[in-house]
């Protein structure tokens, strides 16, 4: 129980990375990728060891880090790459993007701390409820006006509707999840079949049957294996964008219909 409390202090992979950087006294402007990746992976393993749920964002970050690590180890590849996508300039430091995100996140994390402090100070100031002003209405000469509030019944209904909308999003969806065993080799083969069926190009989101963690993780791991085997190339345009997978070899990288 103790550690679940501790774990909640991480607000996501960026928060965790900041923590690791600070804890190990690393330079945010010159992140040692190998070290931070290893520590990050150990953290993920520890979470699993303690049988805690790992949010998908943490896995995406793991992928980013591993990719970055491999990018920094391997010599830059020369590729024929269609038009605009997928270009790595040799001079680009793959860490730059991550560094920028960490700095940006850190700013707001600190700002959140300041807000918290403000809230605390503010909560030390007490007031009283608004006085009941009805008595003043009662002996008013033009009392037929009522409280004369500038809202209509539709404002009220609209407010209600907004609340329903908000609540709707809060309700959970119940579904039964059946456990499936998907061997990684099988998944790898499946991905290659998928790729050849779709002109050597596929989105990551199209590689698993359902958006369940289990499926996503397996597909993701299979991807890593395929990358290691050097039969595919992956590209992600932006954070949280879908990952594009390209088959290497006989197929050219043509643009798919979408």
């Amino acid at each position: 129980m103790q550690y679940s409390v501790k774990l909640q202090t991480f607000e996501g992979p960026l928060d965790l990375l900041l923590h690791l950087i600070q804890k190990n006294d690393l330079d945010l402007y010159d992140i040692p990728v190998k070290e931070i990746t290893e520590q990050y992976m150990v953290y993920i393993h520890t979470m699993q060891f303690l049988q805690l749920d790992i949010a998908s964002e943490y896995l995406v970050m793991a992928a980013t880090l591993l990719h970055m690590k491999s990018q920094m180890l391997l010599p830059a590849q020369e590729e024929e790459l269609g038009e605009d996508e997928f270009e790595y300039d040799e001079t680009d430091d793959p860490r730059e993007e991550l560094m920028y995100r960490l700095i940006e996140y850190k700013k707001f994390k600190e700002a959140a701390g300041e807000l918290k402090e403000r809230e605390r100070v503010r909560s030390d100031l007490f007031s009283k409820p608004m006085s009941d002003l009805t008595p003043f209405l009662k002996d008013s000469t033009d009392s037929e006006n009522g409280p004369n509030i500038n809202v209509s019944i539709y404002d009220m209904l609209q407010a209600f509707q907004r609340m329903m909308k908000r609540k709707k999003k809060t309700e959970p969806v119940y579904s039964k999840i059946q456990r499936e065993e998907i061997p990684i080799d099988e998944k790898m083969a499946q991905i290659m079949t998928e790729l050849s069926r779709h002109h050597g190009k596929r989105r990551f989101s199209e590689l698993f049957e359902r958006e369940e963690k289990h499926h996503i993780v397996i597909a993701f791991l299979a991807l890593l294996e395929l990358m290691k085997a050097n039969v595919i190339v992956c590209n992600q345009e932006d954070n949280f964008d879908d990952i594009m997978i390209y088959q290497k070899g006989e197929h050219t990288f043509e643009k798919s219909s979408d």
């Binding site: 909640q8 009283k128 009941d132 003043f136 409280p147 004369n148 019944i153 407010a159 909308k165 609540k167």
Partner: protein
């Protein structure tokens, strides 16, 4: 503690107690003073507040004290109630008002269950604006206050009775729904609809765990 500080704290105590006022005994406890000393400071404060240049005065009520406004300022408060700028309601207040209008009589807890957040303040605002009032108490321990709408509420919205309220919008506008179909929600709406017919308080809605961690 110096005497001017003691008076300052008493002033604050009188203020936060608002219309309800505060007992001599409470002041004694909070400041760890004996009755005689409290009486002494109260006399001094009342003297200060009796000045013409003050808009609040201290009145003595059944073993306690209370801040009130001055009678000669009544016309200004009348104007305040009817001032066009004091007349909008926040989303929180409107939501709360809608729930009370359709589900009355209803307790604060039930309102909070539906809204998913604390609702003391909008209830106080609505009461102060004379749109809702206490209409009864829940039986049993606690005897929670039950709220309902007032005559002023009907006037404000041009209704002859609460039966004239339009039916509740039970569907969220389509274009605004970005999420996949939610089985639970349709269930929820069905239940609202049926509970409306039966005019029962909603109990079905919130589950505590939905709000976890926020």
């Amino acid at each position: 503690m110096k005497s001017h500080q003691i008076k300052a704290v008493i002033e604050g105590l009188l203020f936060v107690s608002g219309e309800e006022g505060i007992d001599e005994k409470q002041i004694m406890e909070v400041l760890q003073l004996d009755r005689k000393t409290v009486k002494f400071y109260m006399a001094e404060l009342m003297e200060v507040y009796s000045s013409d240049s003050r808009g609040i005065q201290i009145v003595e009520i059944a073993g306690g004290y209370q801040f009130t406004t001055k009678q000669e300022h009544a016309p200004y408060f009348k104007r305040l109630v009817q001032s066009p700028s004091s007349t909008t309601l926040s989303q929180a207040a409107l939501e709360t008002l809608a729930i009370i209008a359709y589900k009355q009589p209803i307790s604060r807890l039930e309102i909070e269950d539906i809204r998913g957040v604390k609702s003391e303040r909008p209830i106080r605002t609505l009461t102060a604006k004379s749109l809702i009032k206490e209409v009864g108490r829940v039986d049993g321990t606690g005897r929670a206050i039950l709220y309902g709408t007032t005559k002023d509420f009907l006037e404000q919205f041009g209704l002859r009775s609460t039966k004239e309220l339009p039916p509740l919008p039970d569907s969220v506008p389509k274009e605004e729904v970005e999420e996949e179909v939610d089985l639970f929600f349709s269930k929820f709406q069905e239940q609202i609809a049926s509970s409306m017919e039966e005019a029962q308080p909603i109990e079905i809605t919130e589950r505590k765990e939905f709000n976890n961690g926020e």
